[in-house]
Symmetry: C2
DNA sequence: CGTGCTTTTGAATAGTATCAAGGCCGGTGG
DNA sequence: CCACCGGCCTTGATACTATTCAAAAGCACG
């Protein structure tokens, strides 16, 4: 049994509950270990509760019936995925791990009670959703107005932001071309082309199949006219 | 002074506060009347509080520095716009009325206190943001995967959903081609072309400059393979 | 009844997606 | 250890879609 007290994930939203509730949630939740590439929940399945990422990286995906898949959000430790539903409701999105992950699941009933009795917790969850909504809306704008090259740069920066722990000017990316393409709504060939151009411009290197961004600041500056602040 | 008690907007989130807080907010808020086409707040301005739409329709917009504007969300009575910020923070988006509107403004301090003391209110605001996030993510998918014709249909349905009060199979739309184009990330010519096609197919009529959707159900069915549920 | 804006439509252009082929590993099995 | 196989990546050619440019028609307003 993994207790929340002593959990090293300082950004976990559950930490905003008061001590007895943190213990209550500790006892109720479970925290499976997901290997890379595993589904956490599927599009169309029933919502039983919410997931709090303790460790690892996750993509939120949505498909059409022809099987084309779009990645609509990336999430990392401290993020909440799934959502809180009253009664029966189905996920309109799915979630897949991008790296080995540990993810805490809390069921709807416990969550509802926790919300009612822990205002600070509820407020922080609300603010989390509010922030994510803003980010999603800025992404909508970018995907609507940008050309392919700009979109690829946006995607790489978004991935870098999600995957790098500390502030740095150099980040490694381990997603393949297809996965990057699905984040920005294009195909793997286009991603490959843009990466080739950026390689010529010395903005990144590729070693085997990992991409190494060499100059995050410069990359950011190339698309900075689309939004102020570092929100993807 | 417009008091919340007796306000006919049943879907207002503030109604979830307890009676004394509803009165407190009533006394503090103010409710300007905005004519059509008016800015409620600008991209880049300071966040002083949140706005609750009492009456009317609003578009949330975001621009790049070249002046191209994208509409990222539509909002109607009962929706909350702007967001709750701690300390100094700037809007990354702007809001413009699409029809004559009445919009209640509540400042940050009052809101913070209300959140702390009205769990039900906070929960409903959280759930509102959660729902909007899901809708935004489904929109991301649609805009990424759809072709132009499908996007126009999506846009028309989204507008119809926002503007029509009751469930009906026929809705009038009073936005111009340019405004529709900005919702789906294209230009007015494309919108015009698709509308011509849909007119030939008897799915809509145009009278002067208003668009009348004649068969919402049929329009929905043409893009139904992109998502289940009626979420835009 | 002009004047100016929006809409519509066509044609030219640019950009993106698709198709196809070859190269580059990494893994497997001889 | 090496050869082969399969998957991913890269690049080019082609087809297609969407954007841009332009012109004419429609409508709204003074």
């Amino acid at each position: 049994m993994l207790m929340c007290v002593g959990c090293n994930n300082t950004s976990c939203l559950i930490k905003n509950c008061n001590p007895d509730w943190i213990e209550k949630i500790s006892l109720q939740k479970n925290t499976p270990v997901y290997p890379k590439g595993q589904y956490i929940f599927f599009e169309g399945s029933l919502v039983m509760g919410a997931y709090f990422i303790k460790k690892g990286h996750v993509k939120i995906v949505s498909s059409n019936l022809q099987g084309k898949e779009q990645t609509v959000r990336l999430a990392k430790a401290g993020h909440m995925i799934g959502h809180t539903a009253f009664g029966l409701e189905k996920y309109s999105i799915g979630a897949v791990t991008l790296s080995d992950s540990e993810i805490c699941f809390v069921d709807n009933n416990t969550l509802q009670q926790a919300f009612l009795e822990n205002p600070k917790f509820t407020i922080e969850v609300m603010r989390f959703y509010s922030r994510e909504l803003r980010k999603s809306e800025i992404r909508t704008k970018c995907l609507a107005l940008m050309n392919n090259e700009e979109k690829v740069i946006l995607g790489l920066l978004y991935i870098a932001d999600t995957f790098s722990e500390e502030e740095t000017n150099e980040v490694e990316i381990h997603l393949n071309r297809q996965e990057i393409a699905q984040i920005i709504g294009t195909n793997s060939e286009q991603v490959s082309r843009v990466i080739s151009i950026l390689k010529k411009d010395q903005l990144l290197e590729t070693k085997e199949r990992t991409i190494i961004l060499k100059d995050i600041k410069h990359l950011k500056s190339t698309i900075s006219h689309y939004s102020f602040a570092n929100e993807y």
